[in-house]
Symmetry: C2
DNA sequence: CTGTAATGTCAACAAGCCTGACTTATTTTT
DNA sequence: AAAAATAAGTCAGGCTTGTTGACATTACAG
C-alpha cells in the first residue's frame, strides 16, 4: 500500500490499480470473444475451431506442428478440431512437398467464408474500441499486451508477423 | 517494429493491424493466466475457483446473485465451485441480516491466504508488464480495455468499483 | 394463505482440454 | 542398410467448466 510514491511514475502501480487492470482484462476478454461466439453458436463449432481457422487463414500452408505450438494445446486436442473441419470441407490438408510427413493446412472457400464472418465480427469490435480510445491509447494497449505475453509466446507472435519462422 | 506512425491516426486501423491486436489479446490472455494456473495446479482447484475467490476477496459480503452476474455463468455452475470452496473451508456463507434468503460470501483465513498467493502472482505479472510498458502505455491500455467491454459487462465492473450496486 | 423471489440441489450432458500408449509414414543418423 | 528420430494421426479414459431441466427450501409480500 504505502509503497513510497516517489512522484516518479510509480504512483500508478498500487495494488488497487493492478487489480483494476486484472479485472479489466478479464471483462474485456469476455467482450472480445462474445461476437464470434454468437456466430459460432449457430454452426456447431466452438472457440477451438475459430482459433484454428484464424491461424490457418493467417498463415496458409502452415503445418500441424507449428499450429500446435501457436495454440499451445496437445495434438490430440487439435486433431479432434481439425478432423471435423477437414471432414466438413472447411480445411484442406496437403502432404508436404519437401517433407512428405508434414501436412500443410489451407482453408477451402467455405472455410475462408466462415473465417471471414468470424474475423469481421471480431475486427469490428476491435475497431470500435480502437476508435473510442484513440491512436495513442492503442499504441499503449499494444505495448502492454506485448509485455503481458511470456517470452515463448512472444516468439510465436513474432513469427506470425514475419513471413516464415 | 515499423508501427506506421504517419500521424494520420486512421492508418492504424487496417485489417492487418486489427488482426495483430486480436492475436496480441489472445496471447496476452494466456500469459496473464499462466502464473495463477501454475499455483492452482497443486491445489485441485481451477480457474473458476480463482475467479470466485478473487471477487469475494474484492467485495466481501457479496451475495451469490451478484457474484453470478459478475462472473456471467449459471448458478449451477457457480454452485459447484462454491460448494467445494465452502466444504474445504476457504469460503464462508452467512445468511443475510436484512434478507435471510440471501447468502453473503466471505473468505476464511485459509481462503484469504490462497487468494493472496494467486493475486500476488498475477499482480507481479501485471506489474512487470506495466513497468516494461511505462505509464503512458498503461493509460492507453486501460482505455482500450474499457472500450472492449460491452455495456453490460462494464456495469459489473463499475459496480465493483463502487460500494453497492 | 398464496404467489413470487432467492437460493440450493440433483441429474444428465457437451465442449474442450489433458495424459498415456500406440501406429504409420517418412526422414535422418549411424 | 539398419536404427533412431520426427510428423501426424488415433484410441481410451479422465478432468474442469460450462450448459439445461426439474425440483426443494426458505422467506418475503400481498
Amino acid at each position: 500500500m504505502s509503497e513510497a510514491q516517489v512522484g516518479d511514475s510509480l504512483l500508478f502501480l498500487t495494488d488497487e490499480q493492478l487489480r483494476q487492470g486484472i479485472e479489466a482484462m478479464f471483462f474485456a476478454y469476455r467482450g472480445f470473444t462474445a461476437a464470434p461466439d454468437l456466430i459460432l453458436d449457430g454452426t456447431g463449432y466452438g472457440r477451438a475451431h475459430h482459433r484454428a481457422l484464424h491461424f490457418i487463414a493467417r498463415a496458409p500452408g502452415m503445418n500441424v506442428n507449428r499450429l500446435l505450438m501457436i495454440l499451445g494445446v496437445t495434438k490430440q486436442s487439435l486433431n479432434r478440431v481439425l478432423r471435423t473441419l477437414i471432414a466438413d470441407g472447411l480445411v484442406e490438408s496437403r502432404v508436404g512437398r519437401a517433407d512428405k510427413r508434414e501436412r500443410h493446412l489451407y482453408l477451402t472457400e467455405e472455410g475462408a467464408a466462415l473465417e471471414q464472418r468470424l474475423s469481421d465480427a471480431q475486427r469490428k469490435w476491435m475497431r470500435d474500441a480502437y476508435r473510442k480510445a484513440g491512436p495513442d491509447a492503442v499504441a499503449g494497449f499494444r505495448q502492454v499486451l506485448e509485455a503481458l505475453m511470456d517470452a515463448e509466446i512472444r516468439k510465436s507472435h513474432a513469427a506470425l508477423r514475419e513471413g516464415t519462422p
